[in-house]
Symmetry: none
Subunit: 136 residues, 4 copies
């Protein structure tokens, strides 16, 4: 009754407007493309991943299923879920994602009225303020 009351509903860290299962898919793809999970390596179980992300297991399952149907991961009965060993596949995923990101940036910035030079400058500036990243 006395003192400040704060609403604590600590949940996952996903952006509100994109389906969570899609965001999980992107995360997993990043883990694979960056090598954080090796080719042929084992993914966390649906259960564990759900706990890690504070999300319902169904949501993780949905993401894994989509990734499987895209051929990026595969499931082995009773063993778990694994990254494909097709390096071409992984490369193409990586390229697609990178393409999409760059296109989004430039389409968006152009729509806002920024010129090429200004876009490059802003990106450079933002990168300069990043911590770490020794080997630039």
């Amino acid at each position: 009754m006395t003192g400040a009351v704060i609403n604590i509903v600590l949940k996952h860290m996903f952006s509100e407007n994109i389906p969570i299962y899609l965001q999980i898919m992107d995360h997993v793809k990043q883990d694979i493309c960056s090598g954080r999970i090796a080719m042929g390596g084992k993914l966390p179980s649906v259960r564990d991943k759900a706990i890690e992300l504070s999300v319902n297991p169904n949501t993780v399952r949905h993401a894994y299923q989509e990734l499987e149907s895209e051929g990026i991961i595969f499931t082995q009965r009773g063993m778990g879920t694994f990254v494909t060993e097709d390096s071409n596949k992984i490369d193409s995923v990586r390229n697609e994602l990178a393409q999409r990101l760059v296109r989004q940036l430039i389409d968006g910035m152009t729509g806002l009225g920024f010129k090429s030079r200004q876009i490059l400058l802003l990106v450079d500036e933002y990168l300069s303020n990043l911590p770490g990243d020794e080997e630039r």
Copy 2:
């Protein structure tokens, strides 16, 4: 009755996984921030915009209402919808959007394992392949 009938359903050009009304909001913001719609200027009517985008009027209205609640546009009963005349507001929207775009790019690329130098190179390359844009 005779011969094949082909149903061509030309529809809007929206990305699949983000609510349409949010994409409309971003488009309108871009129109405003780039000056394509002047400060204080009149937006297309809900109905017209809906036709232009091949979308239900309710969806456009949803977008306009959100924009109004963000203070970027305002409505005059029976007269239409207009861009705010508060230039500070517009500037801050522009900055927010630019920030978001750059952050998305860099977070995503970093997650994929790209280094700063590579990111800048890719952006530069993409920009070089753009048509027009004389005054870079």
Copy 3:
């Protein structure tokens, strides 16, 4: 371009969520019931009232028509619009309005969990803070 820009869209003083023509009706009723416009007296023309209220003449006309259909005012071709001379009519309007106001207050306050004593206190307090009103 420099200095603060303020959005001036000075318009009528009506509450947003109730049709303007209804609010005009209530205002006219108050003018009549309080005697500010005498029984049999002449109302401002639609045109003048519209200007006074910064409203479209159609809206005032709508209000006047409704009032006429309620028998509170009547129109004389070429002469203008006049208050009824039926004092019973006016009394009953006054009672209806007063009833409605008191009921709204008490239903609302009760819904909020206020007790009778608290309601009276709040009303009294509010009245005490009113300016003027010598002859209480």
Copy 4:
């Protein structure tokens, strides 16, 4: 085909001239401020409330969304809608509503030509005729 057919369309109990979603908002606020729904408690689901009120679910959703944007309630994906746990928020809502009600009464009655003493008398009289309300 034989005999008279009578269509009885039992509908909600809303006043005609105020948008239904606003009336729902007020009702919910009253439920919260009076403690009929506890702080942090769960609101009826959109669907249930719609059935209870004989109203389209979209209308209830509209009301809930506005209440959420006012910070009085919040939504948890797939779980439901809940009352804020910020007691200050609730207090301020309660005060605002009470203020509005009292102001409406007094402005209206004054406009009708009632004096302070008369207003208090009428309110008192109305309260005396209420059933129940032991603990006045």
